[in-house]
Structures are given as C-alpha cells and as structure tokens.
Amino acid sequence: MKPRLVIVMLLVLALAVPASMLAQQNSKAEKEVRAVLEEIKQANLKGGDEAAAAGDKLFADDYVRITADGAVHNKADMLNGFRTGTSKDEAYELSDIKIRIYGKTAVVTGILKSKGTLLGVSTSAAGSRFTRVLVKRGGKWESVVYQSTRVAEPANAQASNNAPPSYVANPANYKVIGENDLFRVILEKKPVGVRDPWHSHMDSAVYNLTDCHQRIYRSDGTTREVTLEKGSVVWQSAMTHSTENIGTSECVMLLVERK
C-alpha cells in the first residue's frame, strides 16, 4: 500500500472515530434530556410536595424562569408554587421539540400547550414557544433557565383565516388552466424574490416543473424553508399560507386541487 494512501486512510479514520463518538454521546445526552423534560412535565401535572421534591432535583439553584408575561421567578418561587398549590397544570403538551447539545449544555426549544396556573397566573392553552437550557453537573441534567413567549396570531391572522384561493389572492402568479366538477388545475409561476399574499389551497397534488427554493409562512406564525426538486410531486392538505421564492430562479409548478 502506498504511504500516501495509508496517511489519507489514517486521517479519515482519525476524523471518523471522534465524529462517531460525539454523535453517540450527543444521542445519549438527548435521551437523558428528554427524560428530564418528561420528569418536569409530570411534576407540573402532579403539583404539591411531590412536584416540589422533583423540582428541587430538576432545577439548578440559580434557576431562572421567565414567564410569558415577562415576569422572573427563581427556584424558591417555583418550589413554593408547587407546595402551595398555586402552580399546577391539568394539561401539559409538548411539541416541536428540538434539542441541541453543546458539551455539557443542552438547549431545548419547542411549543408548550398547557392548562393550569403558574404561581397563581393562568397559563395559556393557546401555546407558547419556549427555550429550556440544561447543564449537566455531577452526572445529572439541571435546568438553569426556562423562558416562554406566547405564540401570537400572525399580524394578518384575519386575512389568513379568511384567505382567498391562490388564483384570487395572486392572479399574476396563479392561473386556473382547467377545471371540472371535481378538480381545478392551477399553474403557478413565481419569480425570484416574490412573496404572495395569504391564500388558501384545497387538498392538492403539486407537480414541480422546476427546482424551487421557497420560504413558507404558516398561519401559526412559524416559517419553514423548503427545496423542491424538478419532477417531484408533493401532496398537501387544505390550508392557508403565504410563500416566497427565495431561490435564484423562477418557481413553476402545477397544482391539481380537489374542489
């Protein structure tokens, strides 16, 4: 074997081993953090002394809680809330959880829909976007900060809720090229940089006639970037949204919508 090849192989191995070890460590840490999130959820649902005991273990001594009203509470406040019954949830549902591990720190973001009280203040069932930061000390993960922000209706929620069909909202870019009693066929051509007004779609199949990189604005206030490949088919359920061509070429697609 040539010496140069051996060196390259050794280098690849030297890089691959730490990368794989790091991935394994992160995956293990993610599992541990998920377990802590579940313990916190159970404590919030139980309330009382049991929750206070769990909170004492799960919250760091320098824990900071920033509520959806922008108020600040510390660990003692939180434990007291459990003990006195002023903090307790009847419902506690987490979604869109994303965990990022940076060594001994975990940064978790997600949405919490809860129903109950936090230190006597009603929590919103509508949902809040949260960040929880955890630090691993002495072999266990402790929460050091938790902040929540209410997910607001988009500024044009009204427009979003009553959004007209695409070909009405943006006739320059959406044209009906055929229809019968069951289906409507729409040709969409969106130039680079164009964002269309809020509009609605029925259940539909979308055939992408070009590659397309676009940002999708959803009615819950979130955005998502997608890259659609020429020749691919995407299925979408009826919904309202607004999309923006953030790529470098025109997006062209054919939509077959159920009436």
Partner: protein, 152 residues
C-alpha cells in the same frame, strides 16, 4: 518538609484554584459582553455591516424567537438584514445577568427597543430576553436569542 508548611502550601493552592476560576469567569463575562455589544450594533445598523457581524457571531444553527413566538434561523436574520435599509431605531439593555457554565454562557436581561425589526415583527417597548452563547475556536457565538414582551 514541615507539616505546618505543607498545610500552608495546600491552603494557598486550594484558594488559588477558585481565584483563578473566578478570573476566568470574569474574562468570559467581559468577552460575552463585547459580543452582545456587537450584536446590538448590528440590530441598529442593518445592511452589509450587520450581515458581517451576524455571520461572525451567530452559530449556523442559531435560533431566534422574537416577541411574537415565531422562529427564525441564522439565514433568515442574515437575509432580512441584507435586504433592510435600516434596523431598530434604538435599543437599550439593562438588568444584564451573565452566568458562565464552562464553554456556555446564559445571559438574561431587559430590552427597551424602538422601531421595526428587519425580520418583520413590530416594535415591542419592553421585553425580557435570554441569549445563549457557546465558545468555539476561542470565540463566543450566539446559539439562541429569545425575548418575551413584559406585561405592563
């Protein structure tokens, strides 16, 4: 070596380590404050200068949760600032608390701001915020920034 002398040396060493740790924390705090100042500068400037700052001081997996609870990525921030002619009119940070956990910094504070963000959400007079930084390759970078309006 006399036992008393050994004890004195050990005591000095025992004190020296925490003192050195405190010095490190204080250095880290200063560095993090400097990065926060750069990010604030970018929020006011917008345009190419802001883009350069955000490219340098935001991690690629940066997450921004603004006062309306939406989620933006680093590329959202960079693209919005590239296209923007102006940033926030004013912003003032107060009640800043920095906690250092090894190579991570968790910072909380109050923000008073005026104007429109290039990301498109309206001005919020006063909000409580959290920023999380990680130190990579000797530089502190922001991985998360969230703010919540303070109920008046």
């Amino acid at each position: 070596m006399k036992p008393r002398f050994v004890i004195v040396v050990l005591l000095i060493l025992g004190l020296a380590v925490p003192v050195s740790m405190l010095a490190q924390q204080s250095k880290a705090e200063k560095e993090v404050r400097a990065v926060i100042a750069k990010l604030n500068e970018a929020n006011i400037k917008a345009g190419a200068d802001a883009v350069a700052i955000f490219e340098k001081y935001l991690t690629d997996d940066f997450v921004r949760i603004p006062p309306n609870g939406a989620v933006f990525t680093k590329s959202d921030v960079v693209n919005a600032n590239r296209a923007a002619k102006s940033g926030l009119e004013a912003q003032d940070l107060s009640d800043i608390k920095i906690r250092i956990y090894g190579n991570t910094a968790v910072v909380t504070g109050i923000l008073n701001s005026k104007g429109q963000s290039p990301l498109g959400y309206g001005a919020v007079q006063q909000s409580r915020w959290t920023r999380v930084f990680v130190k990579r390759g000797g530089n502190w970078q922001c991985v998360l920034y969230q703010n919540t309006p303070i109920k008046q």
